[in-house]
Amino acid sequence: MALRDVKPTRSELIGLKRRIALSERGYKILKMKRDGLILEFFKVLADAKDSRGELLQKYQRAVESMALANTVEGAIGVKSAAFSVKEVPQITLTSKNIMGVVVPKIESSKVRKSLVDRGYGILGTTSIIDETATSFEELVEAIIESAEIETTMKRLLSEIESTKRRVNALEFKVIPELSEARDFIKMRLDEMEREELFRLKKIKARMKA
């Protein structure tokens, strides 16, 4: 708010004071929210580091064994084994609320299967297929685990960023400008009062003379 737009009136002053009080209250609450979010973030951070590394490792291993299986069995062999797998890994996805940030909560069941449950014939395929299937099952488990953690991290981070922006805008922009306008009006009102007093004195002196 530019100072020249401010009308030096008493009602404006009252309104401004109200707005300052509101902004300060909001600022305090948002600051607490920011601190709370950062605390939550620290809780997830350690898990996230572990899970990302693990995921990468498992992915590499899975890709390697896939390449191996492709070489030994041929693309068709792997494909036919892949298309005969019947058991579907099931997950339950619910959402959780951390200070207004909605984050997913994932639980999984039966990702790993025994050889018999996989559906392809044991006789017709080599053990490489089994190994590949196992490594991909492990990868899927890791994905399920880190999907939750990573999404939580991402959402927390973006929320922290926007909250931080809001806190800073209030602290360095909104509240200082409002206080400046308030001080300006106060000064102007005082000035007007002094002028009025002086005018009265002047009139009084002229009437006496």
Binding site: P89, I106, K113, E137
Partner: protein, 100 residues
């Protein structure tokens, strides 16, 4: 709920071996966008797995939508992490490099 995988045929094959049924082979960008939109509308999908290189190829708006989506939760694996990496994000949001 189930897991869905979108990517090139090589990428999805392994996931089929792990028992995931909802695998979509997307060989070009138009197909990729089409499948992603399909999966986003599918209530039965809990997690969507994408390849990082594919994640970098899809339009920005859809990518933001994917990043902010909770149901389904989207995760990109393999290759280079696209866009802002986790490390940069943390640096930007918290102000300190806490990653590693």
């Amino acid at each position: 709920m189930e897991i869905a995988v979108i990517g090139n045929s090589e990428f999805i094959l392994g996931f089929r071996l792990a028992g995931i049924r909802k695998t979509y082979a997307a060989e070009n960008e138009a197909k990729l966008t089409e499948y992603i939109n399909g999966v986003l509308g599918d209530n039965e999908v809990g997690i969507l797995v994408l390849n990082n290189s594919d994640m970098n190829r899809i339009p920005g708006r859809l990518r933001t939508q994917l990043e902010n989506s909770v149901k389904p939760t989207v995760i990109a694996i393999g290759g280079e992490e696209g866009g802002l990496s986790m490390r940069e994000r943390i640096k930007r949001s918290v102000g300190v490099d806490l990653w590693k």
